[in-house]
């Protein structure tokens, strides 16, 4: 027997057509249906992450495989921005792994 489908289906919230998201403290314009990565690239932002050696990285594969576009979104690190829809007011930070402590 089958259980309720909706339980695991992601509920789509309706967002306004144009809204802003916050990237490193600055507001940028995003459109409904865009991922965070798409909104950033449309605004000319290219550096998404720094590796532990400090080299800059941005989206490469664009489909969730390479993990190069991961950023800190609403306080959660390692979020793949190419797979995460932009939502009004979401706060995005460059993930600088040279500052993260690795034991």
């Amino acid at each position: 027997m089958c259980a309720k489908a909706d339980q695991h289906c992601h509920k789509r919230e309706e967002h306004p057509e144009v809204f802003t998201i916050e990237v490193n403290g600055k507001n940028i314009v995003a459109h409904a249906g865009q991922t965070i990565a798409e909104a950033m690239l449309a605004n000319g932002l290219k550096v998404f992450r720094r590796t532990r050696n400090g080299s800059p990285r941005g989206p490469y594969c664009g489909m969730g495989i390479c993990y190069e576009c991961r950023m800190i979104v609403n306080g959660i690190p390692n979020v793949r921005t190419c797979m995460t829809p932009a939502t009004p007011g979401c706060k995005v930070l460059t993930q600088d792994e040279s500052l993260m402590r690795v034991e």
Binding site: A3, H8, L41, S55, M63, G64, N74, N78
Partner: protein
């Protein structure tokens, strides 16, 4: 724990088609995908981004999915990180508020996780502004142009598709460079013309005319040899290639570009078939690893099926047919229909499939890189993007006695990063052969759980908040 008759992993054309066929035969289906929307890399766009036949096929698939919505359960933004027993799937739902663990059980598994882009490392390929062709195409299709002067490099049909969408989005293309020689291109044409469908030829021709009309400079037998810049692409150096794709010394020249799309065709994504313990073969003719089949789309592990580009690269039309066959066979094994139905499904699909497979081989012949291209990898070239392992470090490991890829992995951390060796794993066999000088057996990295990076909380079955990351 929720139980399903069939679990379909990957909701692209193959996965959706398999889900519809299974549901139509009356079984319950879990359709799992890591994206927010089903459709895969071809159809996960709002309808108005798609053109002509693409739009028609998308609508047909989505209508079918809607029709059986009481039997197809969609798990969106969900990763499969574990498959064990007969079959318990470990899932991880990515949510903006934190990851959530989940386990489901299924009697049969259909894996349709598609392809990834083939790439060979070169100096500067990790800089922001360098995209895979497919990645940039996804942006361009949605009207986003990620640079002011774009260079399209590498090989394969995706170059033409990308150029078309970039121009449509108002982008400016500095040039298209292809590793194949003009002779190689002309030699490949008969294969394409005898196997491609009318609609594919029509769109191909439209893409070519588009490039001619916009006077985009096109260089054959060329590759990007290095990209320089501090926080992005500042200068791109291209080099001429000889017949074996070996770079010709002294033929370097600069191209003024701030953004590069690069890829060498597509290869199947194998992480989940490897996790299931299915046997794989290196297909010398196609130039990549693929799962070994044991009957109608069934892998060497009974009850685990594959469909679409994660078997061999053929495009979405073939993927839809393979999805149907895999689902019909899985349902036959479940005992929901008799052999006659299986026979008719198979007969209807197999003629179409033969042609698609011929077309795939013709395209692959045009996009496949030759070993000389490995000469572009210098000592300081980053081979493993995630763990920043350079070719120099691999050389030291081989000098110190490492002889197989898992040994290299242990010594250098190559392949241990977030992408789980999906990019460096494509080239490491060739690099070891080059360094040791002897042709040895190709290998794949040992597959281990978790197949995807997940928070510790998910691993222990707890709710994974961000504190666990």
């Amino acid at each position: 724990m929720q139980e399903f008759d069939v679990a379909v992993i990957g909701a692209g054309p193959a996965g959706i088609s398999a889900a519809i066929e299974s549901a139509a035969l009356g079984v319950s289906v879990a359709l799992i995908d890591d994206s927010p929307l089903p459709g895969g890399k071809v159809f996960a766009y709002p309808v108005n981004y798609l053109e002509g036949s693409e739009r028609k096929i998308r609508n047909r698939l989505f209508r079918g999915m809607g029709h059986f919505k009481d039997r197809i359960f969609i798990f969106s933004e969900t990763e499969v990180w574990n498959i064990q027993g007969e079959y318990t799937l470990g899932l991880c739902r990515k949510e903006i508020s934190g990851a959530k663990p989940l386990e489901i059980r299924a009697k049969k598994i259909i894996i349709s996780i598609g392809a990834l882009e083939r790439s060979l490392p070169f100096s500067g390929w990790t800089l922001p502004g360098v995209f895979s062709l497919g990645g940039m195409n996804k942006l361009a299709k949605k009207g986003i142009v990620p640079g002011k002067r774009i260079l399209i490099a590498g090989s394969g049909p995706l170059q033409l598709v990308l150029a078309y969408h970039l121009l449509k989005a108002g982008g400016s293309i500095e040039g298209i460079i292809n590793i194949a020689s003009p002779m190689q291109m002309v030699g490949g044409l008969p294969g394409i013309f005898t196997s491609a469908s009318y609609s594919l030829l029509k769109s191909g021709l439209r893409y070519l005319i588009n490039i001619k009309v916009n006077r985009i400079p096109t260089y054959f037998s060329h590759a990007v040899s290095r990209i320089d810049g501090t926080d992005g692409v500042e200068s791109v150096t291209i080099v001429k290639l000889d017949k074996c794709h070996k770079p010709v010394k002294g033929s370097e020249r600069q191209i003024n570009a701030d953004c590069v799309g690069y890829g060498l065709g597509l290869i199947p994504s194998l992480d989940l078939t490897r996790l299931c313990g299915c046997a794989h073969v290196f297909d010398e003719e196609l130039g990549y690893w693929r799962p070994k089949l044991n009957g109608n789309m069934e892998t060497t592990r009974p009850g685990v099926f594959v469909a679409g580009d994660c078997l061999t690269i053929k495009g979405y039309l073939a993927a839809i047919e393979e999805g149907k066959i895999a689902a019909a066979e899985a349902c036959y094994q479940l005992g929901v229909h008799n052999k006659n139905h299986l026979g008719s499904t198979f007969a209807a699909s197999s003629r179409k499939l033969k042609r698609y497979r011929r077309f795939a081989r013709a395209l692959e012949a045009l996009s496949r890189p030759r070993p000389g291209l490995l000469d572009l990898i210098t000592e300081d070239t980053v081979v493993c993007r995630c763990e920043e392992v350079t070719f120099g470090q691999i050389r030291s490991a081989v000098t110190a006695g490492a002889r197989d890829i898992n040994d290299i992995k242990r010594r250098t951390r190559l392949g241990m990063g977030h992408c789980q060796g999906r990019f460096c794993g494509q080239v490491i066999n060739e690099l070891i052969m080059k360094l040791t000088g002897n042709m040895q057996k190709r290998e794949m990295f040992t597959s281990r759980i978790p197949a995807r990076p997940i928070p510790f909380g998910v691993l222990s079955g707890q709710c994974g908040g961000h504190d666990d990351l």
